[in-house]
Structure formats: C-alpha cells, structure tokens
C-alpha cells in the first residue's frame, strides 16, 4: 500500500475512460498512472494507467505505431536516449517514481533489464557478453564467482549446453535464436527484477521462437516480464495478462484467455481477429 500513498488517491482511483478492463493487479510490481509520452509535438502515449504484477508475463499487443514499444521503453527509461522525448505521469517501481529527478538510471536499468527486437550481442566473446553486466555493476568479487554467474545465467537462458565449449567464441557467431537467448542471459546476469522484451522473436524462426517462449515461461517464476509482440498467437501462448494498445491509448487489458476468446472492446476484437482495414 506504500505505492498507493505515493500516487495521489485521486489519480489512482480515477477512471481511465478509454481503457476497458482491470488495470490494477493484485500483486503489483510496477504501477503506471497517467503516463503520457511526447516525441516533440507527437503525443505518442496518451494517459495510460497499467499495473504489472509480480511473476506475471504481461503481453503488449497492438498495430504498428500504437505506442506499445514506446510504453515498454518508458519502464527502464530507454526513451531518455531519444532526443525530444518527454514523459509525464508516474511510473512507480518499489515505491519509487522512476521518473523522479533524483533517480539514477544506471541502477534502474540493472533492476529492469531489457531484451531487444534484433539480437544484439556485443561483438565480444560469449563469456564477455554475459560477464559484462555483473562486472560493471561490481556484483562479483572474484573470477570464480563471475564464472559461476555466467554459467547460471547461461543455464537459465537454456544456452549453457549449447555453448559451454565455445565460451570464448564471439557471441555474433551464434545463430539468431542462440544470440537472442544470449541476450536474455546477459539481461538476467545482473539479476534484474523485471525483464522487458521488445518483440524478442520477430527475427527468429518458429523453433527458436518456441525455445524463447519456453524460456519466458520458466523465467516467470523468478522475474516479472513485460513482452511486446506482433504475434497475437505468441501473446496468447506466453502471457497471463494482455494489454491492447491502439493509437497511443491503452484500449483494453485483461486476462489473456478473456482477451483472446471474448474481448470486450470492439477495437480489440477487430485487431485480434484480423479485421483492421
């Protein structure tokens, strides 16, 4: 309830007239209220309120340019790097507004990891890719400990058995799916609490996609995961809750099963059934 104290009662309970469904989660990890994002003049995200629950996978779906990627990038302030991008409203993680002026983004990003659309391992060895995060954050004190962290992370990412003999090969020599799992291993090596995934499978074949989806399901027990995806089937497969964005607004959010069998908003229905003209 500490979270609720920080966000004024009025804004917490206010109605989001354009959002259908329950935006709150019984076990919130991240609480977003009145989030607006502007790219210069463009109002990219309009008044979004959404909770992301502990140990849940929330899928963000919507047509291209609907603001789902923009929204997910607000959660670890990756939008800071985009010139002309302005964010208003509250995004509260563990009782701390992450857009508070006093907050340092470096620890925030250690807490909220990110996996990107295109697999982007560093052009360094597999080991170095995973070891980089723990090393810069000073999470390990010895080489042995670092090796342990690397192994655990690679194991959790389901990649250890495939790469344990090639740890000093460049990460870019792996296949696309392996590269993406390496990026996931890199993200979890700093032991984040939340993992954001921005269309992690859009460049992968179905088998690699299935492996990532299985991995997401396994990671759910340790982490909170928000995933942006263009594949509705993927959203249906991996998530517990689904949020539908349309033209910068959060149109509907709800249990994934409900969204995909009985969406309440006409726009959601039209989008998931493929009726957008």
């Amino acid at each position: 309830m500490k979270v609720r104290e920080r966000i004024s009662e009025a804004s917490f309970n206010r109605e989001y007239s354009h959002t259908v469904g329950e935006i709150t989660s019984p076990n919130s990890r991240i609480v977003c209220r009145n989030v607006n994002v502007y790219y210069g003049e463009k109002h990219a995200i309009q008044d979004v309120g959404l909770d992301i629950g502990r140990n849940e996978v929330i899928a963000l779906i919507g047509p291209s340019g609907c603001g789902k990627s923009t929204f997910i990038r607000c959660l670890n302030r990756m939008n800071d790097t985009i010139p002309g991008c302005r964010v208003t409203g509250q995004i509260v993680l563990d009782g701390q507004d992450i857009y508070d002026g006093s907050l340092d983004v470096v620890p925030l990003r250690a807490q909220v990891g990110m996996v990107f659309q295109k697999p982007n391992p560093f052009p360094k060895s597999i080991f170095e890719n995973v070891a980089y995060g723990p090393r810069i954050h000073g999470l390990v004190s010895s080489k042995a400990e670092l090796e342990e962290v690397v192994e655990t992370s690679l194991r959790r990412a389901g990649l250890w058995d495939e790469v344990k003999d090639y740890l000093h090969q460049p990460g870019t020599s792996l296949s696309g799916g392996q590269q993406q799992r390496l990026c996931i291993a890199r993200a979890i090596a700093v032991n984040p609490e939340v993992i954001l995934m921005d269309e992690p499978c859009s460049a992968l074949d179905p088998i690699a996609t299935a492996k990532i989806e299985q991995l997401i399901d396994e990671l759910r027990s340790h982490y909170t995961i928000a995933i942006v995806t263009h594949s509705m089937q993927q959203a249906a497969r991996v998530s517990q809750r689904t949020a539908y964005f349309h033209l910068g607004r959060l149109i509907e959010v709800g249990e994934t099963a409900q969204i995909f069998t009985n969406p309440r908003h006409q726009l959601t229905e039209d989008y998931i059934t493929g009726r957008f003209g």
Binding site: P107, R109, F116, G133, H137
Partner: protein, 437 residues
C-alpha cells in the same frame, strides 16, 4: 485474369514476356555501355598515374647514383701538417683543396693556363676537400703517402657522365666546355670514373651544390612536424569527435560547431599558414621555421579531417550496440568506451592516418611560416629551423642547375613512398580491425 490482360494490353500477342524480351536487348546494351564507360575511366586514370610515375621515375632514378673520380692524392705533409704534430685542429684548417688541385694537375700536365686550370678543377665537387679532410682526420697515417681516392664529381661532370648534358651545340651556350669534355673522356678511358650509390642524398641536408644536397634534413623536419601534428591532433580530434557525437546535446550551438568544422575542412590550407604566422610566430613568439610551429599549423589543418572521420566512424556503430550496453545498465561513458569506441577506432585511425598523409604532403601553409628557408643543417629538435619534404621539393624545383631536376624527382619518389606506406597502413588497419556486428 482480367487485370493481367489489361496490363499486357489486352491482345494475346502482346504478352508481358514478349515485351520484356524486346526490351532486353536494349537493356543489355545499356548495361554493357555503362560498364565500358567505367572501364574507360579506370584506364584513363591508370594512364595518367603511369604517366606521372613514369616521368618522375624516369627523370629521377639517376639521382640515386653519383659519379666520382679516382685521383692519386699525395697527402703532402708540407701542406696539411707543416708542424708534423698531427694536431687535429691544425689538420682541420689545412688546405685540402691544394692537394686535389695538385693531384689533378699532375694528371693533366699540359694544362697551364689559369682559366683552363680553373676549368679543370671545377670537374670536382666543391665539397670534395671536406671528404679528404674527413679521410685524414680519421686516418692520420695517410699523411706523406700517395693513395688513390674516389672524389665525388661536380654536378656538371655528373650530368655529362650520366648523359644528361649535351656534348653538341655551340660551346658558348654549353655548361661544359670542349676541353672539360676531353679531360672527362680521358679520365673515363683510364677507368678513373665510376658511378656509385648516392648515400649523400639520403644522409645530408640541403646544399647549393646539387652533388652535396640531400633530403635527410627535410625528412627529419617532416618527421618532427608530423610528430607534433600527431601528438596534438589525434587526442584533440578524437576527444572532440567523441564529445560531439556521443555526449553533446543537439541544439543550435552544436549545429553551428558542426557547420564550422565542415567549413574548416574545406578552407584553403594557405589560410592556416597565415593564421599560424599571425598567432604562433607573431603573437606567441615561437621560433620561425621550426617544426613546432609547422606542426601546430598542420594540426589546425588536420583536426577537422580527424573530427569528421571520427564522427562518421562513431555514427557507423549500430545503435543496437548502444542499446545493448545501456540496457544492461552501462553509464553513457561506459557505453562509449567499452563498446562504441572499440568498434569505431579502426575507422577513426584510418581517418587520422589519411589526415596525417595529407599533412605530410602539405607545403603551402608551411611556406607562410618560414619553413621555406634554405637550411643546411639537419634539425635535431622541434625547435630548430628546418624544412619539410614537399617544401624541399618546391625549393629544388626552383633551382636552375640541371642536377637538381633529377633530385627533385628523387625527392618526390621518397615522398610518394612515405605516402603509399601511410595509406597502405590505413588500409591494413581497416582490414585487420574491422569487426562484424
């Protein structure tokens, strides 16, 4: 089906594939023509290159040889060491010219006239007496003995032997007279003339006498100048490029700076020379003609090149790498130094080397700061007056003596070798360190 018919014009004989076939011949020809134009321009470029290199090499390769004349020199103790004490300072002062003249006279006893004698003596290099002196200083035992010594010939003799000076034509218009030709021919017949590798060209400084002039002074001047340029422009240029590309906010001020840097890269280099003269020499009072000032001026000139090359190398690093680094919580500086810079360094170094090569070949701004002065001594530090290779070339090209023509070409060859080496290094670095991402 209807649509397909409409596209192909409706009639069955006008199938798309037929239309394509009809236009195919034309397209193939256009393609062939285009390739031919490309090939022609490459060939033309190569022709000019071959012409340029060919003329330079053809004119200059003889400079790497120097004619010398063998004389039986009697190291007369009366003349060089009258006291018999072998005192080095006395030996330094002695009249070695006399020894040479005596040796020559003894070979051509029939030459009696003053004027003819002078003509005879002028067959030898003006610096030949110094060679003898060095010989005696190194080995005082020679005094009182007669020894066959190879003495370097005068540039006119050298030219005649190399066949570069004509033997025909009116005697008055020739640099070398009939009697001299006769003496040289006699010497040659006696086997007293030989051509050997011209070490002086690589080891000595400038001189009024072509046979004594070398490029070592200019090479050292260039080296010191480039050292100053490199040690200033590389760190400053890289720091500026990194700051502008990675950290500077994008606003009107940075835009202005960017425009100005691009402008500076296009400013005629002589303007930098004027600036250097006004600021470094007249205002700061730095020594004129010194590699320090030259290096500073060339730094000004090279900086924009290095900054622009550095920025484009940084820009070429894909944003995904930056995102990846920021995504695991690297600070902006860690992102730049751990990930972006290692990927950009080959490109930045390539730009820097190309900038350096440009600085090496630059002469105009250095003329303005006095590096065009006639300097005989090889510079030992960045504060001593010196000249640089391109300016040396410019100086020699201005000299009237025939022998300087081949030396000019030879110096150009040396400069070209340096440039090829530097550009080759740039290519090597790019190839070797270019990384896949």
């Amino acid at each position: 089906m209807n649509e397909i018919c409409e596209i192909s014009g409706g009639s069955s004989s006008d199938r798309t594939i037929d239309v394509v076939h009809a236009s195919l011949v034309k397209r193939r020809q256009a393609e062939k023509r285009f390739r031919l134009y490309g090939l022609l321009s490459i060939v033309a470029g190569l022709c000019f290159l071959v012409l340029l290199f060919g003329s330079i090499i053809a004119r200059g390769y003889t400079a790497f040889q120097q004619t010398s004349i063998a004389l039986d020199v009697y190291f007369d103790p009366q003349l060089i060491d009258p006291d018999g004490r072998r005192d080095p300072s006395a030996l330094m002062e002695a009249d070695y010219d006399r020894l040479l003249k005596n040796a020559l006279s003894s070979m051509f006893l029939d030459v009696k006239e003053r004027q003819a004698k002078r003509a005879l003596y002028s067959l030898l290099s003006a610096g030949a007496s110094y060679d003898l002196r060095d010989l005696v200083l190194a080995n005082p035992e020679l005094i009182g003995k007669t020894q066959k010594v190879w003495i370097s010939a005068d540039d006119d003799t050298d030219m005649l032997v190399k066949g570069q000076l004509g033997r025909t034509g009116a005697e008055g218009e020739r640099r070398i007279k009939d009697n001299q030709i006769a003496w040289i021919d006699k010497l040659e017949a006696d086997g007293r003339i030989k051509k050997s590798f011209n070490t002086a060209f690589f080891t000595s400084g400038d001189s009024r006498e072509p046979e004594l002039a070398g490029i070592w002074g200019a090479v050292m001047g260039s080296l010191f100048t480039l050292l100053v340029t490199l040690s200033l422009s590389l760190p400053i240029g890289m720091a500026a490029a990194i700051y502008l590309e990675e950290f500077a906010p994008r606003n009107r001020w940075t835009d202005l700076i960017e425009v100005n840097i691009n402008n500076l890269a296009a400013v005629p280099s002589i303007v930098f020379g004027l600036l250097g003269l006004a600021v470094f020499i007249n205002f700061f009072g730095l020594p004129r003609s010194s590699p320090l000032v030259g290096g500073l001026v060339l730094t000004l000139m090279t900086l924009p090149v290095i900054i622009i090359a550095g920025r484009s190398a940084l820009k070429a690093v894909p944003p995904s790498v930056r995102e990846a680094a920021l995504g695991v919580g690297a600070s902006p500086m860690q992102m730049v130094f751990h990930h972006v810079l290692p990927l950009a360094v080959p490109g930045m170094m390539t730009g820097a080397i190309i900038g350096m090569a440009r600085a090496l070949g630059e002469s105009a701004p250095l003329l303005m700061i006095g590096m065009v002065a006639f300097i005989v001594d090889v510079p030992q530090s960045i504060m001593e007056p010196s000249t640089v290779l391109p300016v040396q070339i410019y100086l020699w090209a201005d000299s009237p003596e025939r022998a300087f023509v081949e030396r000019t070409s030879a110096a150009i060859m040396v400069l070209l070798v340096f440039l090829i080496f530097m550009n080759g290094l740039a290519v090597y670095i790019r190839k070797r360190f270019e990384r896949r991402w």
